[in-house]
Amino acid sequence: MNKSVYDSPDNTAVSKRHILTVLVDNEPGVLARVIGMFSGRGYNIDSLNVAEVSNDEHLSRITIVTEGTSEVVNQIEKQLLRIVPVHSVSNLDEEGSAVEAEVALVNIDLNDSNKKKIYEVCDFYRARKIENENNSIIFEIAGASERINRFIKEVNQITKIEIVRSGPVAISTYKNTKED
């Protein structure tokens, strides 16, 4: 239910994480329209990812992770569909209906005493070292957000790190996915 000042009849519904993928025209202002709808109506964005997916059709896909009861998320989907450049909205919340992944880059403060431990953790999580001109120690890790969380937690216990995360992107596992 919408967060109206008038008491909602049902406050007991369970709030859970949802991944919405939104296909939009890649035109100026479209991202502002989408995120403006979230802030204007008081919905949360846990993470947001946007990139062009079809150059000739000028289409972008926005992946939004949000949290809410199914009523709230249903309302979010319908509000998104009111935005003119939005073509379709899919909710990938059904168990097993979608795969998701995100990328994190981690800059690790490495020294002789922690080196061995860190490489062990990185090996275990299949984090890949990225060579760079400044010879700083940067690892890239891709996969489910949960796995990245665990990786970061473990490395964090060993040494100081700086992290950047893309936020998850997700795609439906059904064959011949058709937008509806």
Binding site: M1, N2, S4, V5, Y6, D7, S8, P9, D10, D25, P28, G29, A32, R33, G36, M37, G40, E57, H58, L59, E71, N74, Q75, K78, Q79, L81, R82, V84, P85, V86, H87
Partner: protein, 588 residues
């Protein structure tokens, strides 16, 4: 055939192609090329307002009274920011508007140039869609698409921002018929996909023991046919019908099945029937908080059918059992057809019991007020206004507040599109410019703005517009020297502390009218009222009728904030219970 023109010429040609006859606007630096082109042509009439806020409300009045798109033309910066209230108003009440704003030349965008503002940024949440057009070749496709979007599905305002250099630059004009809506998605009625829903709807209605129709502004937006169909279906079923503030006129007030308006200041019988019904048929309404009252006590025992063109209205605040997404005319046509094919009937004896109950509620006579011999009661003023104008082609606009609710309660509407009021946003200052727009669209009609003394001052500058274009708009001010609704809430919820709700130093409205070369009239006593109203109607000029009414009259009946439909307060003496009053205080 493609033709090369300047951007400004393309703007005008697009408007002509879209059948636009009138533009409401105000010139300024960033729209001078468009005004120059306007000067050189004769097909489009321009109405010069005195503040841009007036232009957009006038366009709303024009649109509402005709069903056509209202067009606004204003300059950049303050011109654009002044229309924001009207855009939001049109968004909330679903009024089709195309608003053209000038913008600083492209090379100055982002430099904090004189009269620059981020118009598309500011108006993004208060328009259905908006454009910043950077290429003159894109102007005509954008215009044709904008007119489509403004009217498509649930209507609303669309804004087109045009930098000054684009207005000067040459580009190709493409005719309306040649434009294919590009990738943008338009409204697709669900109705053709879900026949089973129609069966469910008529099944519920035919078996209902205590049905009620809850009718909203969507029926008016769907066109005059929708109102006919709704009335027809109400008659076929024999069920009672109540209308929202926006829906007044869909079913005539004198129709035997009409219970009048529902909601916060609606009829007692309408609210009680909503509370006790077993099947509710919402047609084109959106369960607004002014209608529902406390959500957890809203019509607790009913199955709810919701017919709405905007899918986001389904289950937004009230969970419904059978949603149908579609245009009212389309859905009702199908429902009536199926009903007839199946030769369905409602149960006459059940309905009789239901009507008996409703007729008992009617006996309360909720609009009853004690008339006075010395003072004009505001309710009486509207009653007289109705009696003396009902046989004419009359349009009523209002501002916002007590006078608006009294107008809704005491003025009886028999036809759609005759009642223009700001419902969703509740914009004071709406009524007078809206009346100007309605008069421009309907030169022969009697257009009356029922106003309050506070609201009318919010756009009083438009007197100059009304007089310039010889628009015989009538302003009927219920003057109590208070912001009446604010005062009423302060009396009921804030211990009678009238904080800043009394207006000192009001103008002399008669002299004010005269200073604009309009006509000013005044009634101070009940016996003067009819003469003043008659003189107002018979004067072929802009008129302000200043009606001095009882100062501390309250608008009843009332569902106070935080209360339910069956907890209506009928008079001042009937106090709301303390705990719910306390809870209600935090609500609007």
């Amino acid at each position: 055939m493609k033709q090369e023109m300047t951007g400004a010429e393309i703007v005008l040609q697009s408007l002509v192609d879209q059948g636009v006859e009138v533009v409401f606007g105000y010139p300024g630096g960033a729209v001078l090329p468009i005004y120059d082109t306007l000067f050189k042509q004769n097909s489009i009439k321009h109405v010069l307002v005195r503040q841009e806020g007036g232009a957009i409300h006038a366009a709303e009045g024009y649109a509402r009274s005709t069903g056509k798109v209202g067009v606004v033309l204003v300059t950049s910066g303050p011109g654009a920011t002044n229309v924001v209230t009207g855009l939001t108003d049109a968004m909330m009440d679903s009024i089709p508007i195309v608003c053209i704003t000038g913008q600083v030349p492209q090379h100055l965008i982002g430099s904090d140039a004189f009269q620059e503002c981020d118009t598309t940024g500011i108006t993004r949440p208060c328009t259905k869609h908006n454009y910043l057009v950077k290429d003159p070749n894109k102007l005509s496709p954008v215009f044709h698409e904008a007119f489509t979007i403004a009217q498509d599905g649930r209507p609303g305002p669309v804004l087109i921002d045009i930098p000054k250099d684009v207005q000067f630059a040459k580009g190709n004009y493409v005719e309306k018929e040649k434009i294919l809506i590009p990738s943008h998605r338009l409204f697709e009625p669900e109705i053709f996909k879900h026949d089973d829903k129609i069966n469910e709807v008529i099944d519920l209605i035919s078996k209902a023991k205590k049905p009620i129709f809850y009718i909203g502004g969507g029926c008016i937006n769907s066109g005059p046919k929708a109102s006919e169909l709704v009335s027809k279906f109400v008659e076929i079923t024999g069920a009672p019908a109540t209308m929202t503030l926006m829906g007044l006129g869909v079913i005539g007030s004198s129709h035997p099945n009409s219970l009048g308006m529902l909601g916060m200041h609606g009829m007692y019988e309408a609210n009680m029937a909503m509370h006790e019904c077993d099947v509710m048929v919402n047609i084109g309404a959106r369960f607004d908080d002014r209608v529902t009252g406390r959500l957890d006590a809203f019509s607790p025992n009913s199955k709810k059918i919701h017919i709405d063109i905007d899918e986001s209205n389904i289950n937004k605040t009230i969970k419904v059992d059978v949603p149908v997404v579609g245009d009212v005319t389309m859905v009702l046509t199908k429902i009536i057809q199926t009903w007839k094919d199946k030769k369905l009937k409602t149960n006459a004896s059940d309905l009789k019991l239901w009507w008996d109950k409703i007729n008992n509620w009617k006996k309360i006579d909720c609009l009853n007020f004690s008339n006075d011999e010395k003072e004009i009661k505001p309710q009486y003023a509207i009653q007289r206004l109705y009696e003396l104008t009902k046989d004419k082609k009359t349009f009523i606009t209002t501002e916002v507040g007590q006078h608006q609710m009294w107008a809704a309660q005491f003025y009886k509407f028999e036809k759609p599109n005759r009642w223009l009021t700001s419902g969703g946003l509740g914009t004071m200052g709406y009524g007078f410019p809206a009346a100007i727009g309605a008069q421009v669209a309907n030169p022969d009609a009697l257009i009356i703005d029922i106003a309050g003394d506070a609201s009318i001052l919010m756009n009083i500058q438009e007197m100059s517009t009304a007089v310039q274009y010889r628009l015989p708009v009538k302003i009927f001010i219920l003057n109590n020297e208070y912001m009446g609704m604010v005062r009423q809430w302060q009396e009921l919820l804030h211990g009678g502390r009238y904080s800043e709700s009394y207006t000192d130093s009001l103008p002399d409205f008669v002299k004010l009218a005269e200073s604009y070369k309009a006509v000013g009239l005044r009634a101070k006593k009940p016996e003067e009222l009819d003469d003043v109203i008659n003189e107002m109607i018979n004067t072929d000029k802009t008129v302000i009728a200043d009606i001095w009414v009882s100062k501390e009259e309250n608008c009843f009946p009332m569902i106070q904030s935080g209360s339910a439909h069956n907890e209506m307060v009928l008079s001042k003496d009937q106090k709301q219970d303390e705990s719910s009053a306390e809870k209600g205080k935090i609500l609007v």
